[in-house]
């Protein structure tokens, strides 16, 4: 079969616009990692099961290994690299640090981005809601107790920070 034509895409990643031509079969994960260097997008299973490759697509958490780069045309993507503001970690990242919610860190970008999506919809989540929101993100080493604690602490911290 003749190699298919490249398709032009234009998308914004962490606030910066990128334009280029991509092969249709390139997943968004590979595009972000290989073409743009966002290696915080981790690849575990590459078929949608582990959550390590999660990114925000127009604010909603999605798996970038089962999304084609051409499908992100015109969209705004946030990877883990886009959360911190200059030297200041995002409150969820800080809470993961404070609550020992990571060991090897492989699952962490996906966990944190899934938590961003959750806290936007439910600023005061119950433990059950947190567990449900993270149910599609697998951690092989830390265990989930501290991760759940960190998300819960981050929710409180964000609430306090937002109070006038």
């Amino acid at each position: 079969m003749k190699a298919p034509d490249l398709v032009p895409v234009s998308l914004e990643v962490n606030g910066v616009r990128f334009e280029g031509d991509v092969e249709p079969r390139k997943t968004l994960a590979d595009f972000l990692r290989e073409e743009l260097g966002f290696t915080g997008v981790n690849l575990g299973c590459e078929h949608g099961v582990c959550g390590a490759c999660s990114v925000l697509l127009d604010g909603a958490v999605v798996r970038s290994c089962i999304l084609l780069a051409v499908q992100a045309d015109g969209c705004k993507i946030t990877t883990i690299e886009g959360l911190a503001r200059e030297e200041k970690l995002h409150p969820i990242q800080q809470a993961f640090l404070d609550h020992h919610a990571l060991q090897c860190g492989f699952c962490t970008p996906g966990m944190v981005l899934a938590a961003v999506d959750l806290l936007k919809r439910s600023p005061h989540p119950t433990e059950i809601q947190i567990r449900e929101a993270l149910s599609g993100n697998l951690c092989m080493c830390t265990g989930y107790v501290n991760i759940v604690r960190a998300v819960s602490a981050a929710a409180e911290r964000i609430q306090t920070a937002e109070k006038p």
């Binding site: 078929h47 949608g48 149910s135 599609g136």
Partner: protein
């Protein structure tokens, strides 16, 4: 773990997608949320020559009340249905099932049309929409046709859609509001596809105390959604809101047994058929129990 090469077409209208499907991309596949198709392509279990991306077609994503029915566009994402107040109010059975589909990240992308066209026997939506007597609107080169859910799912990952047809909309009748309803499933891990699932709808007479009809549909353990009509009839004959606890317990036991008997032949050939039969019977009983509880509380 990367898809094989394919030609990519971004359709801008339903007509363009239909034209591609019967022309330039006749050996291609439609791409909706990609949450089933792309994993299959990554695993090289699917190697379509072309993909026709439906995501840029305007006007295929909506949830509308249209008199005595609800119409949902095929490109509506699971997440939009999950947070729809209209569905929570009018179609509580559907609303109960949607959060049980995968995980939030999957629901953010997966679509109603993709789930139904894919027809995974363990998916939630085929079972629930069969219980709700939904109608699928298929668009083809010669116009549209409407297919009842019971005729739409024809087998293991198989539907009545022709190769050149696109599922466009799902219509769910609202002529009878259920007095009780329940969807229950059992999966090995939270968010997994179900091993077995059961949908129950109970309809009551005007006074609201006799069950005049019921819909009981099984999924997961069987190759396509199965209505268990003997169980529906049993419920209709035996259940009223005043059924005493002791006779209700008796009916529930019979529902469990009858479900097992009715689906046994459909389960043949699967691994652990005895376990699956038992599990399915238990889920049918639990779904009826919880539907009764809701009826009593209303």
């Amino acid at each position: 773990m990367k898809p094989a090469s394919f030609h990519y077409y971004r359709a801008r209208s339903l007509q363009e997608a239909l034209d591609l499907l019967s022309g330039a991309a006749a050996n291609g596949k439609l791409l909706a949320g990609g949450q089933s198709l792309i994993p299959l392509m990554n695993l090289r279990l699917a190697r379509p020559e072309a993909l026709i991306d439906l995501n840029s077609i305007p006007g295929l994503s909506y949830i509308r009340s249209e008199g005595n029915k609800i119409a949902i566009g095929a490109l509506t994402r699971h997440r939009e249905m999950e947070f729809s107040e209209l569905l929570a109010k009018e179609l509580p059975l559907l609303a109960e099932a949607i959060p049980q589909i995968g995980h939030p990240a999957i629901r953010n992308r997966g679509t109603l049309g993709g789930s139904l066209a894919h027809a995974d026997p363990a998916a939630e939506l085929p079972c629930v929409l069969t219980a709700l007597d939904a109608r699928m609107v298929a668009a083809g080169p010669d116009g549209e046709r409407v297919i009842r859910a019971e005729d739409f799912f024809t087998g293991f990952y198989a539907t009545a859609l022709a190769d050149h047809e696109i599922l466009k909309e799902v219509r769910i009748p609202l002529d009878r509001h259920p007095a009780g309803w329940s969807f229950v499933e059992f999966a090995r891990r939270h968010g997994d596809f179900a091993l077995a699932e059961a949908s129950v709808l109970l309809f009551a007479d005007g006074a609201g105390d006799r069950c005049t009809s019921a819909r009981v549909v099984i999924g997961g353990s069987v190759e396509k959604p199965v209505r268990v009509q003997d169980v529906e009839k049993l419920i209709q004959d035996e259940i009223s809101i005043r059924t005493q606890a002791s006779s209700l317990a008796h009916v529930l036991r019979r529902v469990e047994q009858l479900t097992e008997t009715e689906i046994r032949s459909s389960i043949a050939g699967r691994e652990n058929p005895d376990y699956l039969c038992h599990l399915t019977g238990v889920l049918a009983r639990r779904a009826l129990e919880s539907a009764m509880e809701r009826w009593r509380k209303a």
